[in-house]
Assembly symmetry: none
Homo-oligomer: 148 residues x 2
DNA sequence: TCAAATGTCATGCTTTAGTATGATTTTGAA
DNA sequence: TTCAAAATCATACTAAAGCATGACATTTGA
């Protein structure tokens, strides 16, 4: 910044000096004033643009490196709701895996049971939670304190 | 852009005309040339700076290198991650409705587009989030601060 | 102005999810 | 021990989700 100001000042000074000299030579020519003015206009326009660029063209590159780790919010299972809704242990297990984004097949594999079994659990779960889809089930379950 | 050029041209024209007039009045004064030149220099410097600013004033570029994982407690949309993953506005909209447990059909109805469109958005979303299912998408999106 | 990105939609297809129903086996409590 | 709930599994569906691909219009940015 300071450098630019100094450079600008220096260039300006030189120009003024140069023009001062040129002034006496050009003055004798016809229409010299127009030429003189035109030159000044041109030079200072360029200078101005240059100055404008210098002072604004500072692109700021911000690099974000921080990683904010998830807070494992303290969760306490609401067993009361569990009982109220008649949700069994196994069903709750299935619900948790469902909430982790597992497919029915994956859940079945993880629990060593058949796909059909998981489907049965899921259906009953949806009934009890009064929802139609697994995504809704997860939402509802979280609301009810059945899931973290 | 075009406007700026026109404005610049117009201002320049007016100045030339004005100076042409001033030229004959100032010429009689002592040192009129210096004053004349000074004025032109001043005016065109300002004009140049203005032009420079106009044509170069690019927004700051923010470069983010790492994906940020956020605390889900207080939510502020992480637009950086959004950009990083190339998730468009519309896709984000779909993502939000998906997170609310809506089916593709319901989402389509809500956004007044076809089911196929939502499926397309969903597929691209899964790709970008690097997941296979909507449930996983929602989870991942929350981790990345794309969803409350 | 021109290319790239975005948004929209379709078709055809495969996979997964969800429903309905019924059956057998476990298990926990009266 | 007995009985009901819970858990398991199956078959047969329908519905929804997801994938791949191509097309076309609109928007936008360089």
């Amino acid at each position: 910044m300071k450098k630019n100001i100094l450079i600008y000042g220096a260039v300006l000074g030189l120009l003024v000096a140069g023009l001062k000299l040129a002034e006496y030579k050009l003055i004798v020519i016809d229409h010299s004033i127009e030429i003189y003015g035109g030159l000044i206009a041109l030079l200072f326009t360029v200078l101005g643009i240059w100055a404008g660029l210098k002072f604004v063209k500072k692109k700021e590159v911000v690099v974000v490196k921080e990683v904010i780790v998830q807070d494992p919010a303290e969760f306490t299972l609401n067993e009361n709701n569990l009982k109220l809704l008649n949700i069994s242990k196994r069903e709750h297990e299935v619900l948790m895996l469902m909430a982790q984004g597992l497919s029915n097949q994956e859940t079945a594999d993880k629990l060593f049971v058949s796909l059909n079994t998981i489907k049965t659990h899921s259906s009953k779960l949806f009934e009890k939670l009064n929802v139609q889809r697994r995504t809704q089930a997860v939402q509802e379950a979280k609301k009810l304190g059945l899931l973290p």
